[in-house]
């Protein structure tokens, strides 16, 4: 929006680096000036990360977290996409089920922990259930919206060429809704990543979330706490970027404008 000319590629690299350097300096000097004994400086965080890497803890925890996300998110996808497509296609079904979803949706997945523990006991399965709960609703809603937003023109064209209802669904509705479905999946994955960290702080004893809590509890190692937080942020970002790559595939790219 600024009136200045289109920035060069070099600038696109330069400014973020400058901003990051400024941030690190601010952090570093804040720690020095405030004289805190506990809160880590950037250098300490870096050393903490290396320590975790060397002890192999970090890889294991990353692996645990990713595995739980994979299973929970995968299950939410397998159940949520067909359900969402059904809700979008049959307005009647949507009207009946929607109120229930609207009441369940604002309940934080973490609030489901006691119920999850009843059914799954303490451990991985409870955590995976929570991830499922967190990812499920956004996926269903996105699929439903994707289907109901398919322009009438496409549906009519499909019927015009003699497509049976199942063919119509597979060859017209689904491809037309796919961009919105993918966005929904990307958002749900982001949520899954948030939930897994939270779930690990409460219900299991491995994973990045657990690492955050444990580092503090057993020794006030705030350098490790922050190191774990940084890893959480970076991996979450990588997951998001992977999905955005999907959005650039040609048979889907038509559905996206420039967005963050």
């Amino acid at each position: 929006m600024s009136v200045l000319a289109e920035p060069s590629k070099r600038e696109k690299f330069l400014w973020p680096v400058l901003a990051f350097a400024a941030f690190l300096s601010l952090w570093h000097y804040s720690v020095i000036w405030s004289g805190t004994k506990v809160f880590p400086a950037p250098v300490q965080v870096e050393r903490g990360m290396l320590e975790l890497f060397h002890k192999n803890i970090l890889w294991q925890d990353i692996g645990s977290s990713l595995l739980r996300v994979a299973i929970g998110f995968g299950a939410a996808t397998l159940v949520g996409i067909p359900l969402g497509l059904t809700f979008g296609w049959y307005a009647g079904v949507n009207q009946v089920v929607n109120p229930v979803m609207q009441i369940l949706r604002p309940i934080s997945p973490i609030a489901w922990i006691p119920v999850a523990i009843i059914f799954f006991g303490v451990g991985d399965n409870a955590a995976i259930f929570l991830i499922f709960m967190g990812a499920f609703f956004p996926i269903v809603v996105a699929c439903g919206n994707g289907v109901s937003n398919v322009p009438v023109v496409y549906r009519r064209a499909g019927r015009n060429f003699g497509l049976a209802p199942t063919q119509l669904l597979a060859r017209v509705i689904f491809p037309a809704a796919l961009p919105q479905i993918i966005v929904g999946l990307r958002l749900a994955l982001g949520i899954a990543w948030l939930v897994v960290v939270a779930a690990e702080m409460v219900a299991v004893d491995s994973g990045l979330g657990y690492l955050v809590i444990d580092s503090r509890n057993s020794g006030k190692r705030y350098d490790l706490v922050v190191a774990a937080m940084v890893m959480i942020g970076v991996i979450g970002l990588i997951l998001d970027l992977c999905f955005r790559r999907l959005e650039r595939i040609k048979s889907v790219r038509w559905g996206f404008r420039d967005e963050f």
Binding site: P16, V38, V97, V100, W112, V115, W193, A198, G209, I232
Partner: protein, 252 residues
Amino acid sequence: MKLLVRLRPIVFIAGLLAAWEIAVERHPNYILPGPWAVVGGIADLLHHGFLFKYVVASLFRVTWGFCLAAIVGIPLGLMIGWHRRSEMALNPMVQVFRPISPLAWIPIAILWFGVGDAAAIFLIFLGCFFPLLLTGINAVRNVPAVYIHAGRNFGLSPAQLVYNVLYPAVVPQLLIGLRITLGVAWLVVVAAEMIAVDSGLGFLIVDARNAGNRYDLVLAGMVIIGIIGLLLDTAMRSLEKVKSFRWAYSEE
């Protein structure tokens, strides 16, 4: 005929509740209570005054955290969105901060604020700040260039441009972002209360279970969380319906 159609969701819910009740009665060993027990739990909380107290505590934290995040995040987002180079500079860092669950900040929150309201509000602030920042940035970026050009064409000063063109143009998107982020705030407060404070609806859930396996209260708490969350969302939606904001929605 129309009435029948409207009743269908209610029938559906009634059916689910009935199935739940039957399942519970068939398996008396399971600790999970049935719907009637939950209703009893809600009545219990009302009676002892906990319901009101906890709801107010949670809403209080949400209000503070959310409003602070909005007051700081939205103007900041609008400014960054307007200035191309700021956006280039800050976006990567925001993208790294965003996926960090507010709950992962708990150790730091407790370190800085101790256990209590301030820490919870800080967590909610974090959970809302980044989404609202991005909302502001996107809202500005999505203002069609034609509007700005028209404003300049008619000789508007920068202040007039902001007030007469930018503000009405961004408000619809901001409202949607605010509504969604309020939902996030509600999720965060409950989670935060389960872990880091000792009052509020989230705490109710944890406490009811720990101090006596009162699962009827646990579920009562969940139901109330769901209902209040829905009410908050509905309230924000009605704001979107205010006529002077509706122009953007009808265009879609």
